[in-house]
Each structure stands twice: as structure tokens, then as C-alpha cells.
Symmetry: C2
Subunit: 174 residues, 2 copies
């Protein structure tokens, strides 16, 4: 069964007791979290954050580069002044290389018409995937990227972390 | 006080009772959620999702275009076959235009050295922000973008939704 067919019923239960309708738009803690899209991560619970306290940007790997547009909007329009970047153990981003992923996409496209195949190949060849092999190094690189980025505010406090999917623990790397 | 200084203590409590260390990497529901970074949204709670069930991609606005890299990785490497795009009421993305945001960034940079100012201006002029004015139209546009995208798998089921931050309710748009 499609997962979205359960949304209405489950959401109705959530809305029944919902009492956070008056929260302001800017995050109360002036905090932005960057973390992975991984299904095993719930940063509200794992960091004890409440609704309304932090922006949460999630993407494949928890890439700060990929999150850059969101970070700019968060800082300039909604007042966040702290960024915490989380990558995690056993991440899918450590399981492939960009050339391997490009090959998968091209191979999946073999039955498509030639003009579509060409477009698919050109697009995927031009994409960056921000995969990584060394977990802690990837966190340090992302923090470095943000600290050196001229469009990230100088006064922003930036930290880097690892979340362990095996035991739910976080550990600060930088 | 910096928000991250509380992470260790709050996370220690979470880890004490953590019992989800053996979840598989691929999301159990083969589902990927795209939603906004907005601090007032917790899609695990509002959709009744459990840890391990869905990839969650979050960015400014819940933009499917911005999420494209993550969606590709999710589908090709981790087996998701359903995408649900959520935008929400009272979104920060409806409160500005790209030219206004570019002006803010340039104005903030006035005290920087000329070479840095030039880099900042060139970068921000080249950025897309995916802001929108009509909420439902923005959802329909994002679903259309995904359905027409040759690199999104044909068999993926794609739906579009609005989350109401005033009452916690979701509503399907497409």
C-alpha cells in the first residue's frame, strides 16, 4: 500500500491535540541543524529540540554545500546565528562513488529513446553527489566550507558532529 | 547561550533508552518526504512516521528542485519509490523576492574589502532561491517538475501536500 494513504488518518490524530499554532516563524534558538535525510535520524528527539526552536535542513549526507541556499535564507531572513552540521555512521554516502552512481543511472536508462538517454547522461554527468569515505573528515570539510564561505555570516557559530545510528549518541568533531 | 552546549546532556538522555540500533539503511516504507526546514514542522509526528520508515529531505520551502540530488540517491541506491512533497502555510518563502534577498546580502557586505564584495555579489546574483507566492501552485509546480524529470523513476508515486502551521493539519493538493 502507498504510504501516503495513511497520512490523513495519522495526521487527524496529531491535529486533534495540536497546540503549537502560534509559534513565531524565526527559530527560537536562532539555530540551524544540517543533517542527513537518513530514515534512522530524528534530530528533534536525539537533541531534545522542541517545535519552533531550530531550522532543520536535511539532504543526502547532511551536506553543507547542498544546504547553502537554505542557510543563506535562514540567516538573512529568519535570524539564525548558529549552525550545527551532523553526519552519521553507516551513511549511504559512504557506499558509492559518483562514477558508480552515474553508471547506475545510465544503465537504468538503456530502454529509453535515444534523445531521452542523451539528456539523462548529460544531466547525471554534470551532477555532484557529495559522497564521502571518511566520516569525520567529511564533517570537518563541511564546517570548513561554511567558515570560509563569504556569504555565511561571520558572527555565526559553526560546529560539526557525528551521530551514531547504532546507539543514538552524538559526538562533537569540530 | 549557544544552543549546541545543550546537545550533549539532552542527547545522553535520548541515548539511555535508545533501542533502534538495528534498523536497516533503506527506508521501510520506500517513502521520501520533501518538506520545509521551518522550525514549526516535525513530519515524524504530524504524519505518524516511525524511525526507519522514510527519508526526510528538508530545505528552505520544501523545494523539490533543491532536493533533486537527494531524491536521485534515495531512489537509485536506497530503493524509495514514493515521494510526498509538503509545502506549508505562512512560509518564509512567500515573504521575499530573489532581488530583495540579493539586495540584503549585498547591503550586508558593504563593509567588506572590494575583492570580497565582488565575490559575494557574483555568487548571490547567480543563485536561485525558489521563493514562491501562491502556495498550492508551488506544490503543483514541484510535483510537475518531478513527474517530468527524466531522472526521477517512472514507477515512483508522487503526491503534493500543504501543511497548515496554524492547526497541524495536512491536505493533499495533487
Amino acid at each position: 500500500m502507498s504510504a501516503h494513504l495513511e497520512f490523513a488518518e495519522k495526521n487527524a490524530k496529531y491535529a486533534e491535540t495540536f497546540d503549537k499554532g502560534d509559534l513565531p516563524v524565526p527559530p527560537a534558538k536562532k539555530l540551524l541543524i544540517v543533517t542527513c535525510m537518513d530514515a534512522r535520524i530524528d534530530c528533534y528527539k536525539s537533541l531534545g529540540l522542541e517545535l519552533g526552536e531550530a531550522h532543520v535542513v536535511r539532504n543526502a549526507g547532511g551536506s553543507a554545500r547542498d544546504a547553502f541556499r537554505s542557510i543563506l535564507i535562514s540567516q538573512r531572513l529568519l535570524g539564525t546565528r548558529e549552525i550545527a552540521v551532523f553526519h552519521h555512521t553507516n551513511c549511504g554516502m559512504q557506499s558509492f562513488t559518483a562514477p558508480q552512481l552515474r553508471d547506475i543511472v545510465k544503465s537504468d536508462a538503456q530502454s529509453k529513446p535515444d534523445n531521452e538517454k542523451d539528456k539523462i547522461e548529460t544531466t547525471v554527468d554534470g551532477m555532484e553527489f557529495y559522497e564521502f569515505s571518511d566520516l569525520e573528515e567529511s564533517v570537518r570539510n563541511d564546517v570548513k566550507f561554511l567558515k570560509e564561505n563569504l556569504l555565511v555570516l561571520d558572527e555565526a557559530e559553526i560546529t560539526g558532529w557525528v551521530y551514531d545510528t547504532a546507539n543514538g549518541k552524538v559526538r562533537q568533531v569540530v
